[in-house]
Symmetry: C2
Amino acid sequence: MLLPGFRDFYPDDCATRNYIITQWRTVARRYGFVEYDGPVVESIDLYRKKSGGELVGQLFDFVDKGARAVALRPEMTPTLARMVAARERDFRKPLKWFSVGRFFRYEKQQRGRLREFYQLNCDIIGENSPAADAECIALLVDLLRQFGFNDDDFVVRISNRNAWSSFLDDEGASAERLSDFLEVIDKMERADPETTREKLKTLGVSLEAVTRFLQTPAAEHKSFAEVRANLEARELGKYVEFDLKIVRGLAYYTGFVFEVFDRRKKLRALAGGGRYDKLLALMSDDRVELPALGFAMGDVVLSELMHETPAAQSRLQNALAANRPAQIYLIIAKEERRLNALRDVQRLRDAGYTVDFSLVAAKVGKQFQTAEQIGARFAVLYGDEWPQVKIKTLATREEVLLPAEQLLDHLAARASR
Amino acid sequence: MLLPGFRDFYPDDCATRNYIITQWRTVARRYGFVEYDGPVVESIDLYRKKSGGELVGQLFDFVDKGARAVALRPEMTPTLARMVAARERDFRKPLKWFSVGRFFRYEKQQRGRLREFYQLNCDIIGENSPAADAECIALLVDLLRQFGFNDDDFVVRISNRNAWSSFLDDEGASAERLSDFLEVIDKMERADPETTREKLKTLGVSLEAVTRFLQTPAAEHKSFAEVRANLEARELGKYVEFDLKIVRGLAYYTGFVFEVFDRRKKLRALAGGGRYDKLLALMSDDRVELPALGFAMGDVVLSELMHETPAAQSRLQNALAANRPAQIYLIIAKEERRLNALRDVQRLRDAGYTVDFSLVAAKVGKQFQTAEQIGARFAVLYGDEWPQVKIKTLATREEVLLPAEQLLDHLAARASR
């Protein structure tokens, strides 16, 4: 029995999964990002110290046979920070790194949440200019556009934790209680206003001051203006909005944070990220100071939005339709030609074609039917015509008879590898 | 800290890992195999009942937060059997399925063994003809040839458990003790002959009879003759040998079993597999009877052999060299041209090119240096010439000056996407 929260990937599901992963890789590479990866199991300390409350409660953790407290990775950032802190001198800055893999959370199954899921992570390390934030956000936008989504379908909401630090300063409240304060902001939309007012009061801030600050025009936040100008130069301005209510749950964030939502607000966040300028120093014994930022995008909510968006659906369907098991199907009409056919199966595969055939004797009609079912473009017939073979283009029913040794030359101009 | 037996994949390591996975996928697809996958965590019962002794002792197992006894998957076959048994009616037979993923074993670290590794699995389900065994073995051979190995580097040793059942029958020994018997055969090469003789005696067989049987010419084993003829028609005969000493550790095997070794016998097995005709019935409530066979190939021993084989090394190095982070590097010689450059960065990426640039102001010489270091083919210069840009082909130092709006047309004929 499949465990709850886990998935089997039958061939169609696997093709969809691979489509998502291929789009992720393709777009990340266009941006000059290079791929890395880490282990799926890490020491639990990596998460306890760095990620903060929410994630630790959902850790898929256990004690291994060597009495180590370990966890199946819930996110990539701690692993990335660990890896970079250990060898940062080996790499030219800024690092532009991405990774695709499986992640795990032990939580109740609910819409958009599974215990095992795929996630893309993209990070820029070693650059504190808002230009790096803009590059990351542009990548995030293009990743979503690649799937066929446009600005009617999604929006990137950008905020800046530093704006809230300044606000607390200006209000004469303690900036040390920033994370408690951000937690109130995070819950504010769903909470009763009086509860929010009470909580803010204990932090030395009034609800009115917060409400006023939330309405500050984006243009007045200088750092955001720079990001916006950068994105507008790329003609990507329409995909982003400044929204101070976005704060993100993880403790390690500093500066910009952002989340992507579907425009109809029906789903959970599609992706999220931000700056974590202090994390590398925290992870390294010799306190490597490197500014850093990045984001993660999972496959589960993304798949839900693809399902609801016709343009994304048709891109996926086109990609899946191109994914035929074999381009060339050999039809063995006479069993005494089987070994000749096998020789050509091998030659064609050696030449890089996808090739299939019936492993055992079968009626010719049945073999043609299989060729059609698997979406083969060419059927090659081994029968009475030997040492000639008949090549049939299945879509057009066009037939050519030629000596078997000319088969490869004939296909070279017609089939793809 | 990285856990013992696990690996970090820094960009170079990750590129090598991806190279291996890409070769695996490419060759499996050429054979008409389609990809599937399962979860990384499974109920421990799946392995306890099916895999037999050796693997259960090495399971990376634990109790999850829901009090379930679970394990990180040590092999794919039980998952595949579970998946196929659940939905076999949905698929045309025979199924030709492959999968690539991470697997886990909790065992002492030693050469060729890690706690987390990658494995390719290829299986044919629903065909009991030796033609299916030959197709699997041909695929296995071609997988290794794809990496640049030839018959000087590796050999596939094929055996057949049925031959040993017949032998026990002929000797008047109990065929029910086949698995105890095979265990003795498996250990025989490394064991003291007198110990082997004693063990065989308790099973009702003499060491002399076993030794004689091991020397039977391959041609006398009818089923093997058919596989050999099939492989010889493909001109792959030289890669395989019949060797009854190969028995494989897993309890579920029936019929043919095979393992791949490096010719110099320095390493552990590179791959192994065989028939498991009874496993599907065991895994399904309604006892789905489907003959099946398959094999697995891991990345660890394969990497060791690649490292020792010059032809394989040079293929790997060629593949890695082609893997440049960006093909086009934009050089911003005047900061007032940054937004113009950003617009072109976006246009080029939208057109599918890999593109990078300096996120912040930098000296022109430094920017050219980075372009060279990342292996870019073209540098595009944004400076005094604006609205013209200078395109430099880095290998030849050739330069062209043209209006920025002609950049895409110019590159379309020269750059690859």
